[in-house]
Amino acid sequence: MFYREAGDFHTTYTSDSQTFPIKFDRYRYYVILVIAFLVVPFIINDYWANAILLPFLIYAIAAIGLNILTGYCGQVSLGTGGFMAVGAYACYKLMTAFPDVSMFIHVILAGAITAVVGVLFGLPSLRIKGFYLAVATLAAQFFLLWLFNKVPWFYNYSASGQINAPEREVFGILITGASAPAWATYLFCLIFCFASAIVARNLTRGTVGRKWMAIRDMDIAAEIIGVNPLRAKLSAFAVSSFFVGISGALFFSIYLGAVEVGEAFSIQKSFLVLFMVIVGGLGSIFGSFAGAAFLVLLPVALKVLGVDMLGWPTDIVAHFQLVIVGALIIFFLIVEPHGLAQLWRLAKEKLRLWPFPH
C-alpha cells in the first residue's frame, strides 16, 4: 500500500542496483537531503546545533567507521575512542601548524593520519581474531590515550594538557571557535557526514566490501576463493579509522572546541560507538545513523521531557535516563538482534504488503 512498486520497472542494471531501488524510498531520501541541506541551515539555532545535530552527525560518522570494521569485516574493535583521539590531535596539530589552510583539508588529513595509525594497530588482526583482537584494540585505546597525556608535544605544551581549537575559517566563514555561526558548523559536519555515508555505501557494495564480508563470514573460505586477508583486513582498518579520525577531528574542532583526552576519548566512548553500531544494526549504513540517533537523541529527549516539561529533580531524571536507555537496548536486542536497521527493513516489508498480509 505505502510502498507501491506497481509501474516501477527497472530496465537497466544500474537502475536495478541503485541504493534506493524503490521510487518511494528514493524520493523520501531526496526530501530528507533537501531538508537537511536547504531548510535546516536557515532555521537552526545554537541549541539545536550544539546539543543535538552536531553530536548526532559526528557520532554517525564514527558509527559508519566502526560499522565498516566490525559490521562488514567482522573485526571487533574497542579502540574507537583512541582513534577518535588520534583524529582530534592530528587536527589540532595541523590547525596550529598551518593556520591558513582550509579546515576541509585539515579534517581530511586528520582522517588520513588516523588511517595510518589504524593500519598499524590492525596488524595484529592478521594473527588473532575475535575476543583476542578486541583486547589488542583495547591496548590501542589505552596506549593512545596515555601517549596524548604523556607527550607534551601533542598538546603544544599547554599547562593544562588540554587542546583548544583556535578560530579557523572555511571560505571566509568562521567554522571553529565560540563565535562560529550554528548553520556553518552544522553544514560543515553535514557535508562530511553525507560524503562519508556515500563513500561507505559505495565501498561496501563493491569489490572491496564483498571481500570484507567474505572475510567476516568465513575467513578461510574467503582465502581459498582468492581474497587476500592481509589486504582485506588492513583496508578495512584503514577505511574505518579514516572515518573515525574524521569524526574525532570534527568532535574536537567543531563540536566541543576544547578537549581533554582522558575525559573525551575514554573507553566509554569506544563502548558508546560500539553500542550505536550494535543497536543500529551491524553491517548497515542506515543502522549507523539509527544507532547514533538512538543513543544521542534519546537521552536529550528524556531530559527535556523529565526536567523541562515535568519538572522532576535532575538527578532522578539522570538515573531514569540510564534505566530507560539500558532497558530499551535490551528490549531491542531481544526483539530484533540485528538492530534497528533490521526492524526498519521488516517494517518496510510489512508496509509493502499492507493491508494484505500475503
Partner: protein, 427 residues
C-alpha cells in the same frame, strides 16, 4: 505522588506565564556519576542560599531568584548541552564546578556576553581580567592553593624546606595538572624535590601510585583529587600507614565524605581552604528556619554545614552580592548578564558586609578590579578530627606567593591573548 503534584503545579505555573522577570541563576550540577559526592553538597548549598534570599528577603533587590538546575554528570558534552539549553533565558552567571567544562565554556560565554564564576577551579590565569573579560575566579585559585600548601610547609618547618621531598598526587586531567607549573617554580625557589604521581579518571585505582610513595618516601604528599579519588587516596594512605598529618589536600580534596570512609585512620588529614567551615554562623539559623524547616531544601537536605555545602552557599552569596552591586551600578533591579558582569567586576566583599549577611569571618575580604578577577588569594589550612568528625581551621588565611603566581599568570594569559587576538581593555 509528590512528583506528580509538583509537575502539575509547575505546569500550571508555566501556563500562567511569568508574571515578573526573575533573575535566573543556572546551576550546572552533578548529582550522578563518580563525582556526585562532591557535586551534591555544593549544589544544595548553592540552591539553599538562593531559596533563603527568596523566602527571607523576597529575592535580590526585590526581584525573585530562579535557579535552573541542569545535570552535567561532570561530563563536558552534557555540560555543553546544559549551557546551550539555559543560555537563552538571560542567565546571570555560570558556575559549572568542573575545570573541563570551564575550559569549554570560557570562549562560548565570553562570546555570548555571559559572566562565569569559577571559584577555586577552572583556568587559573583567568585571574587576569584584562584578558579574560567575562571569567572570574575570586577569591582564590589553584596556584594560590599550591602556594598555600608550600607556605604551610614552610610554616611548620621554620621557613626551610630545602631538600624535602613533596609528592603531588593528581587527577590526570586539566584540573589535576593545573598546579604543576606553580609547584615546579616553587620547588626551584625553595629547593624541595617534587614527585609527580598522576591518577587516571575516575581514580579508584591507585595501588601503584601508593607503592611508589612507599618507595620514594616523600616527606609530604599533596593531592589534587576530586570525587571518588579522594576517599580512595586517603584509604590507601592509611593502608601504607603514611602519616596523615603530612598529607595535605587541595580544597576539593577536603570534605567530610572524603575522610569518613577511612574512619579513625583519617585522623589528622589536612586540606587547604579559602573559606571557613562548620555551622557556627548566624546564616545557618536563617537557613534552618526559612529553608530546611519550611521543607524547601534542595536535594535531601542533609548536607547543611558540610565543607562543600558551605562552599556552594559561599558561591551563591558572592553571586548575590555581585547582582546587588550590579543593580546599584546600573540603577535597575532588572539586570542583564552584561550588567551582572559589571557587578562582578566591581564587587567588594568587606568584613562588615559578611557580618551583616550572617557570615562573619566566613571568607577573606577582597575587591575585584578590571585587572584582577581573582581576589587576593588568601589560603588557610583545615585539619580533620576523626573523633568529633569535624574540620577545624589550624592555620589562618594567609597571603600566597604572589610574586611567583603573578609571573605565571601574566605569562599564561599573555599566551591566551596572543592566541585569540585579545586586546587590553583595562585602563
Amino acid at each position: 505522588m509528590k512528583l506528580k503534584l509538583t509537575s502539575l503545579a509547575l505546569g500550571a505555573a508555566l501556563a500562567a506565564g511569568p508574571a515578573l522577570a526573575d533573575l535566573t541563576f543556572p546551576d550546572l550540577s552533578y548529582r550522578t556519576g563518580p563525582y556526585a559526592a562532591g557535586g551534591i553538597p555544593f549544589s544544595d548549598g548553592y540552591n539553599d542560599y538562593f531559596t533563603l534570599l527568596n523566602e527571607r528577603d523576597g529575592g535580590i533587590g526585590g526581584v525573585k531568584v530562579k535557579v535552573t538546575e541542569c545535570e552535567t554528570g561532570y561530563n563536558t558534552e552534557k555540560g555543553v548541552e546544559c549551557y546551550e539549553a539555559t543560555k537563552g533565558d538571560s542567565p546571570m552567571v555560570y558556575q559549572p564546578l568542573s575545570t573541563g567544562i570551564t575550559y569549554q565554556l570560557i570562549p562560548k560565554a565570553t562570546a555570548d556576553g555571559i559572566p562565569m564564576h569559577t571559584m577555586g577551579y577552572g583556568r587559573t590565569s583567568a585571574k587576569n581580567g584584562d584578558v579574560f573579560s567575562n571569567v572570574f575566579n575570586y577569591p582564590a585559585n589553584y596556584w594560590d592553593g599550591a602556594s598555600g600548601v608550600v607556605n604551610y610547609l614552610l610554616e611548620i618547618n621554620d621557613g626551610n624546606i630545602n631538600g624535602k621531598k613533596l609528592a603531588l598526587l593528581y587527577h590526570n586531567s586539566a584540573y589535576g595538572k593545573e598546579p604543576i607549573r606553580t609547584l615546579e617554580e616553587l620547588s626551584k625557589k625553595h629547593g624541595f624535590e617534587l614527585v609527580l604521581l598522576p591518577v587516571d579518571h575516575p581514580g579508584q585505582e591507585q595501588k601503584s601510585q601508593w607503592l611508589q610513595i612507599r618507595r620514594e618516601k616523600p616527606d609530604y604528599v599533596t593531592m589534587w583529587g576530586w570525587g571518588v579519588m579522594n576517599q580512595v587516596a586517603i584509604q590507601e594512605a592509611a593502608n601504607i600507614r603514611y602519616p596523615m598529618e603530612n598529607f595535605i589536600g587541595i580544597w576539593w580534596s577536603g570534605a567530610e565524605h572524603d575522610v569518613l570512609p577511612a574512619g579513625a585512620a583519617a585522623d589528622g588529614y589536612k586540606a587547604v581552604t579559602f573559606h571557613n567551615v562548620g555551622r557556627d554562623f548566624p546564616v545557618f539559623d536563617d537557613i534552618q528556619t526559612y529553608v530546611i524547616d519550611a521543607g524547601k531544601a534542595a536535594g535531601a537536605g542533609d548536607q547543611v554545614g558540610n565543607v562543600l555545602y558551605n562552599r556552594g552557599m559561599y558561591a551563591a552569596m558572592l553571586a548575590a552580592e555581585a547582582a546587588k552591586t550590579a543593580q546599584e551600578i546600573h540603577g535597575t533591579q532588572d539586570i542583564t548578564p552584561e550588567m551582572m558582569r559589571d557587578g562582578m567586576e566591581a564587587l567588594e566583599i568587606t568584613e562588615e558586609k559578611m557580618a551583616a549577611l550572617g557570615m562573619p569571618n566566613f571568607g577573606p575580604s577582597f575587591k575585584v578590579t578590571c585587572g584582577n578577577h581573582g581576589g587576593d588569594g588568601m589560603v588557610g589550612v583545615n585539619q580533620w578530627d576523626a573523633e568529633t568528625q569535624t574540620w577545624s581551621l589550624i592555620s589562618d588565611f594567609k597571603p600566597t606567593d604572589s610574586e611567583v603566581i603573578g609571573a605565571l599568570i601574566a605569562e599564561d594569559s599573555a599566551a591566551f591573548a596572543a592566541e585569540n587576538n585579545i586586546e587590553s581593555r583595562c585602563k
